[in-house]
């Protein structure tokens, strides 16, 4: 209940299934554990899932819809996380909200949330249609999530173009589901390549990690743990960078390069043959 100038950040991707909601949940928990007051807003009214990933699905009484229609006060709708009480969720309302919700409605909700938080994270729906535009209209800055795959990168570029026209700034990049071995074999776009193609500063990368699925199964984001798995550590690094800390980029494609890969790389760079 401190900050007058909360940071309002929309988390978006264009393509679905690249990890927006997982990032929102993990980032929310990590930022809260770093001592910030955080509210996450599920702006994916059509297909809401943020409640599920945070393990809060059984505690929802009111939603953003009820706040807008003044059926309840904002405090009644916010769901506090039990383990991390400085994190709360404003759940998405009914999918029918999409028919009447305007960018102004979203701005109203977010400015209410901003009064009582340091960070407001807005989990945007996939796509570039009205739902996304509503979510982006309410945010000052953005994080674009993408995977090192052609379709995800192309869709991210569309979103970045739209964010530029909406004066959302800064826009930073998170590359999710990186497979270090494939990158080393040059069978996957590298972190630098994606960052160059999209011309966005890199906020962080997240390695592919089975534990992400385990954690979503349980509704316990990886960043709840003190010694998280590789992806959890990546999410935590991203949270710290977002807060302005200088955290060096953990690039596993450099760390794990074995003898064979080093020799191959050397051969490649010296001969330029393949």
């Amino acid at each position: 209940m401190t900050s007058v100038s909360a940071r309002t950040i929309v988390i978006c991707s264009g393509k679905g299934g690249v990890g927006k909601t997982t990032l929102t949940a993990n980032l929310g928990i990590a930022l809260a554990r770093l001592g910030h007051q955080v509210t996450v807003l599920d702006a994916d009214f059509g297909l809401r899932n943020l409640d599920l990933l945070l393990g809060l699905e059984n505690r929802i009484v009111y939603t953003a819809q009820d706040v807008l229609s003044e059926t309840c006060r904002l405090e009644q709708a916010l769901v506090k996380h039990k383990q991390v009480p400085s994190l709360s969720l404003l759940p998405a309302g009914n999918p029918r909200m999409l028919e009447w919700l305007t960018p102004e409605d979203m701005q109203r909700i977010v400015s209410l949330l901003a009064e009582r938080a340091d960070y407001v994270l807005i989990d945007a729906p996939a796509g570039v249609e009205q739902g996304f535009r509503n979510a982006a209209a309410a945010a000052a800055e953005a994080i674009v999530v993408t995977n090192p795959e052609v379709s995800a990168v192309r869709d991210a570029d569309r979103v970045i173009g739209l964010l530029a026209t909406m004066n959302v700034q800064p826009v930073q990049l998170v590359l999710n589901r990186v497979r270090p071995k494939m990158v080393m074999n040059q069978e996957m776009l590298s972190v630098d390549e994606v960052s160059d193609l999209l011309a966005l500063p890199l906020l962080g990368l997240v390695v592919e990690d089975e534990q992400v699925i385990v954690s979503t199964n349980r509704g316990e984001p990886l960043t709840l743990k003190d010694n998280p798995s590789p992806a959890g550590r990546d999410y935590r690094d991203i949270a710290r960078r977002l807060g302005g800390e200088q955290v060096p980029l953990n690039d596993p494609t450099r760390e794990r390069r074995g003898l064979r890969a080093r020799l191959l790389h050397k051969l490649r760079t010296t001969t330029g043959l393949f």
């Binding site: 052609v150 173009g161 494939m182 996957m188 776009l189």
Partner: protein
């Protein structure tokens, strides 16, 4: 990666797919960002060639006009090898001629389907005319 892929890579027969992905994305993002569809780009290409041809004789077979993007700035790159200059510029054709004339030159491939590696090579070999597009 299977053993066969590995051998192919070692022999230089096959590019790694990550490289292919980057090159394909460079082209497709340039087109997406410029909002020029391939037909319009082709029409513009023909008209540019027609204008240049009035002043110099160009090698139509190795002409290359394409969009490239770096740091969110999209540039129109034209690489038009000159055979010889004309002592006198040819008269300006009618508008109707511009669209038709140079099409017979075998350059009807849109740059989108062209090999990006070749395009990059051609740019290195001579001075491409660069025209920055807004956005």
């Amino acid at each position: 990666m299977t053993l066969l892929d590995y051998v192919n890579r070692l022999l230089g027969r096959q590019k790694p797919s990550g490289t292919t992905a980057r090159q394909r994305l460079q082209l497709v993002l340039a087109h997406d960002r410029s909002d020029l569809n391939p037909e319009l780009l082709e029409q513009m290409r023909r008209e540019i060639l027609a204008v240049v041809q009035r002043y110099v004789e160009i090698d139509l077979d190795s002409c290359d006009v394409s969009l490239e993007t770096e740091d969110r700035v999209t540039a129109l790159l034209a690489n038009l090898p000159i055979k010889r200059t004309r002592p006198q510029p040819l008269p300006a054709p009618d508008d109707s001629d511009i669209a038709e004339e140079p099409d017979a030159a075998g350059g009807s491939d849109t740059p989108r389907s062209g090999d990006p590696a070749l395009a990059a090579e051609a740019h290195g070999s001579s001075d491409p005319a660069e025209v920055a597009l807004p956005g």
